[in-house]
């Protein structure tokens, strides 16, 4: 399901619901409190700001989040990108997630990184090692090859013509309530939530 802004004029952008209840990931270490803040305050907050920034600008309000990400800069880009990034991120997690991928995604990971373990090591390093706010991504490049990339702050791989497969939010708000400053522990919990079915669909 693509993320489309409501195309009717004067209809504001809306924040997609979480794909699961707020307490769905609590057993895996991402608490109800975190998801409540992360989705209902941060994610929804970006949408609220985007509506305010595009008020009276019908041409912008007619665009999808993806279109805004590609065409805009500054505050509008930040809000559109962070909205899109968070929607993608929450879809990358599942109460039934974890384990390892299968099928075409598994093959692509094995052939690109050598093994799932090596991919996991590199992705973890990217997530843990990012300086400041940002995201770690598994993407498919324009050349069709898988790659691990980091983006800073609101950065989104769509601007580089890459197709996101997986996202890990490493802004402090993603993990501070549950893990305080221990980002590595958060990333471990993230692995246990990874929705490989969703990731496989992005290939």
């Amino acid at each position: 399901e693509t993320q489309k802004a409501n195309l009717k004029q004067n209809m504001p952008f809306t924040c997609p619901d979480l794909p699961y209840p707020h307490d769905a990931l609590a057993a895996k270490g991402i608490s109800k409190e975190t998801l409540t803040f992360h989705h209902d305050k941060h994610h929804a907050g970006y949408v609220t700001k985007l509506n305010a920034l595009t008020e009276g600008k019908a041409d912008l309000q007619a665009k999808s989040f993806e279109e805004l990400i590609k065409s805009e800069q500054g505050a509008i880009f930040n809000c559109a990108a962070q909205t899109w990034n968070h929607t993608f991120y929450f879809n990358c997690l599942s109460p039934n997630g974890g384990g390892e991928p299968a099928g075409a995604l598994k093959e692509a990971i094995d052939s690109t990184f050598g093994s799932f373990e090596k991919f996991k090591e590199q992705f973890t390093a990217a997530a843990v090692g990012h300086f400041g706010s940002g995201w770690a991504w598994l993407v498919k490049g324009g050349d069709g090859k898988l790659a691990i990339v980091g983006t800073h702050d609101a950065g989104c791989p769509l601007t580089e013509g890459q197709t996101p497969i997986l996202a890990c939010d490493v802004w402090e708000h993603a993990y501070y309530i549950d893990f305080r400053n221990a980002r590595p522990e958060y990333v471990k919990a993230w692995w246990n939530c990874v929705n490989w079915e969703f990731a496989a669909k992005q290939l």
């Binding site: 706010s133 940002g134 702050d153």
Partner: protein, 234 residues
């Protein structure tokens, strides 16, 4: 801890057979290691208890912020500098360049937080009259200064800092924001920094950075800010 790591790396170099690490290189490495050990940075103590700034900033945040976040910047700065000294001793410019982001990030974190702790005190302080006059002349009033400072600091995308600085080129006070842990550099002197990384406020203010910015002024140590300003003007 940093010293023993430096010595470990020194002995690792020394244990290689001759020809891999020649004697002049060994002398350079030992000098670099000794120099790095002398310059090892350490976490400065706070002038007040962790709980002393509550309820503006809770003891829970102060303890995490100082003993975990700042300590980690210090530890990682020391490691990066040690590695940099080794790379420099081997004239490995590529390795030196590769270490620069870690030095910038961790070094900036150490510099910034070291200033920050001195900018705060239990109950805050009045603004000394000469500094207040300068703030009035520059920004119109203390209130106008704070609201501009808060607006600009709230608007920092991602992680960063809001600063009151002295621009030495024109002698004027200015408001500046920096991203990530980039320190104030150039012909500009940092006087007052407010950390707007989420870790600085999240446990008390959740996502409400503007509320944190409204409250923090209650614990700003303007005497320290004025001391820095006087020193910067010399």
């Amino acid at each position: 801890m940093a010293t023993s790591r430096v010595l470990q790396s020194f002995f690792k170099q020394m244990s290689r057979p001759t020809g891999v690490v020649g004697s002049s290189t060994r002398r350079q490495l030992s000098a670099a290691a000794a120099s790095a050990a002398n310059k090892a940075h350490s976490l400065p103590d706070l002038a007040y208890d962790y709980s002393a700034l509550a309820p503006v900033v809770s003891g829970k945040i102060m303890e995490l912020h100082h003993s975990k976040h700042h300590q980690t910047y210090v530890n990682n700065l020391n490691i990066a500098l040690e590695q940099y000294a080794e790379a420099e001793a081997k004239n490995d410019v590529a390795a030196m360049i590769n270490l620069q982001p870690a030095i910038r990030f961790n070094g900036g974190g150490h510099v910034n937080h070291s200033i920050f702790w001195t900018n705060l005190c239990p109950g805050g302080s009045e603004v000394p009259s000469d500094l207040l006059a300068e703030i009035d002349a520059t920004f119109g009033s203390l209130d106008k200064f704070r609201s501009t400072f808060n607006a600009r600091s709230a608007a920092v995308q991602g992680s960063g800092w809001g600063w009151l600085v002295l621009n030495k080129a024109n002698g004027k006070l200015q408001i500046q924001t920096q991203p990530n842990q980039d320190p104030i550099t150039g012909d500009v002197v940092p006087l007052l920094g407010i950390d707007v990384w989420e870790h600085a406020y999240y446990l008390d203010y959740e996502n409400r950075r503007p509320d944190y910015l409204n409250e923090i002024w209650k614990v700003v140590n303007w005497n320290n800010v004025a001391e820095r300003w006087h020193a910067a003007k010399e």
